[in-house]
C-alpha cells in the first residue's frame, strides 16, 4: 500500500500519467472515491501517459468510453450499475478478456465482481479543499 497526496487537479493528472508508465496492458484499475475526488482527472492523466489525447470525460451516461493509444483503455463509470444483471449487460466481463486496460470509476458499486489482481486506488479528501490522498494497492508508482 502506497500513500500519495496531491494538492491540485494538475498534480492528480500527473500522478495518473506516472502510473500509466508502469502499465503493461490488461490491467484493471479500480477507482474508489465519491464526487469531486478527481477520478476523471486521474484517468485523463493516465490516458495521456498512454499517448491518448482524445477528450477523456466521465462516462456517466454511456457507462463506458473507449480510447486508443499505447493500449486500448476502457473507461467505466459504475455509478448507475446496481446489480449483476446491469453489470453483465455493460459487457464488463467481455472487456476483462479484451487485453485492454480497464479504468473503473465508482468501483464501490461492483466491488464483489473485481478481479483479485485489480489495482485498487482509493481517493480521499485531504485537509485542504484541493488536497487529495491516494491509497494505491497492487502497483508501485
Amino acid at each position: 500500500m502506497q500513500e500519495i497526496t496531491t494538492f491540485s487537479s494538475v498534480e492528480t493528472e500527473s500522478l495518473g500519467e506516472r502510473l500509466a508508465k508502469q502499465l503493461k496492458g490488461g490491467e484493471v484499475i479500480a477507482l474508489f472515491g465519491g464526487m469531486g475526488m478527481g477520478k476523471t482527472a486521474f484517468t485523463r492523466g493516465l490516458s495521456r501517459g498512454l499517448e491518448i489525447y482524445d477528450g477523456v470525460s466521465s462516462p456517466t451516461f454511456a457507462l463506458v468510453h473507449e480510447y486508443h493509444g499505447k493500449f486500448t483503455v476502457y473507461h467505466f463509470d459504475m455509478f448507475r450499475v446496481t446489480g449483476w444483471d446491469d453489470l453483465y449487460s455493460t459487457g464488463f466481463f467481455d472487456y476483462l478478456e479484451s487485453g485492454g486496460v480497464l479504468v473503473i470509476e465508482w468501483s464501490e458499486n461492483i466491488e464483489n465482481a473485481l478481479p483479485e489482481d485489480a489495482i485498487r486506488i482509493e481517493i480521499q479528501q485531504g485537509g485542504n479543499e484541493n488536497e487529495r490522498i491516494f491509497h494505491i494497492e497492487g502497483i508501485e508508482v
Binding site: T82, G83, W84, G91, D94, E97, I110, N112, A113
Partner: protein, 236 residues
Amino acid sequence: MRILAIDSSATAASAALVEDGKVLGEFYINTRLTHSQTLMPMIDNVLGCTQSELSSVDLFAVSAGPGSFTGIRIGVASIKGLAMARNKPCVGVSTLEAMAYNLELTEGTICAVMDARCQQVYNAMFHISGGHLERITPDRALSIEDLAKECENYTKPLFLVGDGAKLCYNNQWFKNLKAVLPPEPLLYQRACGVAKEALTVYEQGGAVTPAALMPIYLRLPQAERELKKRLKGEKK
C-alpha cells in the same frame, strides 16, 4: 438441407456451411480479436471458398446462449440479419448442447461448462452412449463447487468440455472425480456443432422466423449475492 451456422458466444468464433450432415466448410479462430471484426469475413469466406451463394442456404443457425453478453448479441444479430434479408427460417441453439457434440464418440457423462466468472459456470449435463446424446439437466448457472458435488452422482467417466473445462479440471473437487479433459481441438464450441443441433431442432419443428430469434441469457447465481460491499450500518 443446407445450414449456415455461426458461433460467437465466447472468445473463439466460427462459421460453418453444412449440407445434409456433411461439413462443406468451416472457419474457426480463437484469438482476442472482436467478433464484430472477424465473424462476417468468416461467413463471407466460408461461402466464397465453397463457391456457395447465400441464397442457397435453407436454414440459419446460431448459438444463442449462454455465453458472453456481447458475443451472443453479435451472433444472434448477424444471423437475424442474414435470414431476414432472405426470408429464411432460423434456429437458436444452446451453446452447451452444441459443444457436447464434440464428444459424440465417447461413452459416459458430458459436463459442458462455460466460465461465468467469480467461480461460477454455465452448465448442462448430458449422457452419451452409442453416439446418442441425451440431455440430463437444463442449461443453468451454478458454482463450480455445487456442480462438482452433483457430478459425484453421474455415470463415469466424466468428460469436461467448454471454456470452463480447464477451470473445473484444475479444481480439487473435479480432480477427485477423475474428470477427463479433451484435447484442445475438441474443447470449445464449434459452428459445425451448432449446425448439428440446429438440424435436430429443425426436424422437431423448432425453427423460428428471424424476428422471433432471441438471445438466451441465464441469470448468474452470484446475482443472489451482493455486488456492492456494504459498509457497516449502511441500509439496503
